[in-house]
Symmetry: C4
Subunit: 333 residues, 4 copies
């Protein structure tokens, strides 16, 4: 991976305070294991929208996989398949969903940035394509109407290669911004209502940090919420996702599942997020590093390590199923 | 910029604890963005004493601009003009206000240190000059009756060049102290009352950290208060300005606007100060670095970056105007 | 000691957060000495299961002593004898208990990992041997049903020498895991009841961090509890032992003694653990370093230093006996 | 100064946690200045046992001044005289009080370690000498019945030169310990009562960290209390002196003055100690560095800097006298 691409992927916004908080907040949570529990048979599987996932870790939508591997998102999908994980394909994918879909035996979702009025024709067509190729869900990213202050990739002089195709974001002029994220500035709750009316697929709203937005999302007919701060890449000094997760979970109740991304690096992090109410978590950077170093087997290996650590965390804390992971896992101070 | 001048500008007093706190206290505040707000049209402007500023960032009074640029404060004024910001000219200016005034299309203020009894003749004359050349406001600095322990610039053997003219502080003997700040030791509330009686210009009291002093300032007829710790250059271990801002705002109510300087480096810092009650903020060192590196365009570029980051912070937190920036922007922990 | 062995011994699990917390939590406790107490005669001895120990520090069970000294656990036993401390022999001992027993004049205990159903024949035989050679107590380790994420020794490519004999854990295939810890996954409270029924020796349950498990242990007829997180080597981000000690002591009351290991490095640490309710503490890594550098005299020297520091802590805090070490020793904040 | 002597002086006990806390606790206290106060005339003087000191900083008793200057304590006394500060001569002085007394125009005190039964003959004689040469007060050090764990000077192989004379601690065998502090182990409240009965000089008890000991000291007829942790050199992890000062002051009320040493390095530290109830403070290491580098003028310069910073702190916080330094100087958080 070229240095500039690494800086683009690894970096966060501005002073990278949120990037740091995402990790520190997980590390600060202490676990309370129980002992002498019979843990010969444990079950890490979880149900999500009627499907059972082998373990509660998904591949988050991330942009431009061909920056780090020549096969791009198709290779990632193969890794997701081998690693038994659901892959959320980004709108900034460098491969077509027809090819991605064929590469995985696992369910997969598609992520959308800009769902504004101007894009309705494009989106209508896209939804038809997604249905045709068997997409299992949609993720609407709400926290990036403009691109954050990506000072670190600016300093590394990162820019997208001119010949990098992004079939679901074709406008190369707009892409000339750092990172090439679309600037919509105008997706609104009304746009979300329109999208909801156009598809029967499960839709998750991603980028929620405020409990009031979580309530609005449920009211808007969302099927799930993803507590996310865009990996610390958008507005710096927003809180760690694990910090606000309990408020969002409390606001949403049991009406829809709440997922979380941001800083998940260890099996114990997965357990902590579940203990505080998440149904599952997503990882981003870790699988991109796996993809870069080892292609699909690299992606699968990252998933295997995290799954193994999660199983270990269950056993070492004396829990056998996800139902047994509740707040009692966390030390109250 | 010579190393010693850099140490003089960048340094704080004694162990630079307040200097550090000014930054840490901003960084510790977490933001709570809202999503899916229509942010196509935002407005960053703010009203101050009947004038509308394009965005809520002013250039704080800082000494001796000819240390870093041959044109001194005149060049700064050109940058303020290009960057659409109000410039507060220091009593330790190395250029005359007649020349500074001509260089900017923006409103500008003048700052006074010592308003003691001995200086009344000088001040009376100065007020006439300021009126004649169109000065729009006065700032009285209250937190520097003596110069702080500038150990860092002492270690760098900083001293003012003998030929550096300071038309509003002509006594070169007194200037032989480090940094050349005047030692008055005697400006009092009575002196402020005298100044109030001599001018119709808006007067702001700068250097207030205590809510009781803020109340006294309002009672003394001040038009505004600037919460400041002199950039951590006077008494070390006084609190970060953002830490005491809420107490001062609470004490003052809506009677006069409260401004703040000290540690503002990011658009998110501007938003946090406003969320805690500031009408606007001032920056010091950043624009001096801009002036040193790039003259007026350098000053303008610093303002442009901060303005852009502030706009980005508005959009990414789902706020469209300054009126929408209230305490709800900050995460309560 | 080879570098890889050092990494295996010194390292903790995963990100070594618990390893760090074990030390930080001791360091954060402040002491409140009293002055002008007559401390000419002090007494550091403590009673445990009918025997009097010279001072409240034991040698914790640690694996594979022949990794660091050719005589292995026999040499450690000689050091324990010289240093007047009780030695807890690990199930992963590289020497036989017959030889270890002969090498010390002090009481000694034996530690068990896996007490599952499959091992009952082996354990029955082992208990007979232990009785025959004069073992004075048993420790059941409950916090390691699987081996933790030993990333640090993995990175150092640590592996056990093929010819390293472990008479109480003979299965070399299983040993091929990092560190060679047995994977049982199935010791339960029922297994503990079986063990309790088979021996009259005092049994301590080691690895307890939760007060509910402490209560269950008392109910299961345990003679003592060892608050331990396996030296931060099993599940990362479990709390420091000194952090949870007070809860465990409160839950257990005076029914059985509570011991602690994890991070004890200074005489003041020993005093802090006793002040918060521990009867005695165990050290692990420090005596392995002594064994590595100086054999039995090295072990004895480590004990002598800690004993001397503990005496010094008593004198400098104005306490003469262990009975005088109570909560008043710790500053409440 | 030889490196080993530097390590002996600069170092603290064990892990130097208390040494660090002494500084950190001062730095963590934030000041609340007032502005526009008339500070043309300020008064830093303070009354102590009927004498007026020019400013509230004393020279603490420290051992073996000939380690750092050939003239030893006589040179220090000259510096105290030039710097207008009271000097507390240590029992481990390398010069006789007759010579020290002649070298200063300021009041001076003498410090005692061991006041046990065995030393009564020696002490009776010493008290006569002290009276004869005009000693103005006594300090009994209570926190060092044995020497702390001076790991840092051990590592530097520090030892006292054989020919270093210590007229008030003549036993060279005992001195062979690190630092040569006497080991008494037996000074008690009864011994203090004996001392009280033998002299009319003011006696201060030094080394008090517990409010109950402070009360006992008042009851024992002490004229003052010095809150001290022996510069972090005795029992590690005892609290910073400024942390426990308020409790001691509260326990003592206005019955006797409370002094403090430990970590005072800045004029703001002096102000903070006074704000929390100290009548005055003592410094140790700083003046030894001054003595080492510059003899008596070095000692005087250290005092001058601290006095200047204290005056600056008064002016910059809008206080004119020590009576105006109360709790309102400190920010409550």
């Amino acid at each position: 991976m070229p240095h500039a691409a690494y800086e683009y992927i690894a970096g966060g916004a501005a002073d990278e305070i949120t990037l740091r908080w995402n990790r520190e907040a997980f590390d600060a949570l202490a676990l309370r294991p129980r002992v002498l529990v019979d843990i010969e048979r444990i079950d890490t599987s979880v149900e999500l929208f009627g499907r059972r996932l082998a373990f509660p870790v998904l591949l988050a939508p991330t942009a431009f996989h061909r920056l780090v591997h020549s096969e791009g998102e198709v290779e990632t999908a193969r890794g997701a398949s081998a690693g038994e994980a659901l892959f959320v394909v980004s709108s900034l994918s460098t491969r077509r969903v027809e090819d991605i879909s064929r590469a995985t035996t696992q369910p997969w979702w598609f992520q959308l940035f800009d769902i504004g009025r101007r894009r309705r024709e494009f989106l209508t067509e896209l939804l038809e394509t997604l249905n045709a190729v068997g997409c299992n869900g949609l993720v609407v990213t709400a926290d990036a109407p403009v691109t954050g202050a990506r000072n670190r990739s600016e300093r590394a002089h990162f820019s997208l290669p001119d010949d990098l195709e992004t079939p679901y974001y074709p406008d190369r002029t707009a892409r000339k911004q750092v990172g090439g994220l679309p600037v919509s500035g105008s997706s609104t709750w009304a746009d979300l209502a329109w999208l909801r009316s156009k598809t029967g697929l499960p839709i998750m709203l991603k980028g929620v940090l405020h409990e009031e937005d979580a309530k609005l999302a449920v009211k808007a007919g969302m099927d799930g919420i993803i507590v996310s701060n865009h990996g610390g890449r958008e507005l710096d000094t927003v809180p760690a996702t694990i910090t606000v997760l309990p408020r969002v979970v409390k606001a949403v109740g049991k009406r829809v599942p709440v997922l979380l991304d941001g800083g998940v690096r260890r099996g114990t992090d997965v357990m902590k997020a579940l203990a505080l109410g998440a149904r599952a978590v997503l990882i981003g950077r870790p699988y991109l590093y796996g993809l870069s170093v080892g292609g699909a087997p690299g992606v699968a290996r990252v998933l295997e390590i995290l799954r193994g650590e999660f199983e270990m965390a269950l056993k070492l804390s004396g829990r056998r199923t996800l139902a047994e992971i509740d707040r009692s896992v966390i030390l109250r101070t």
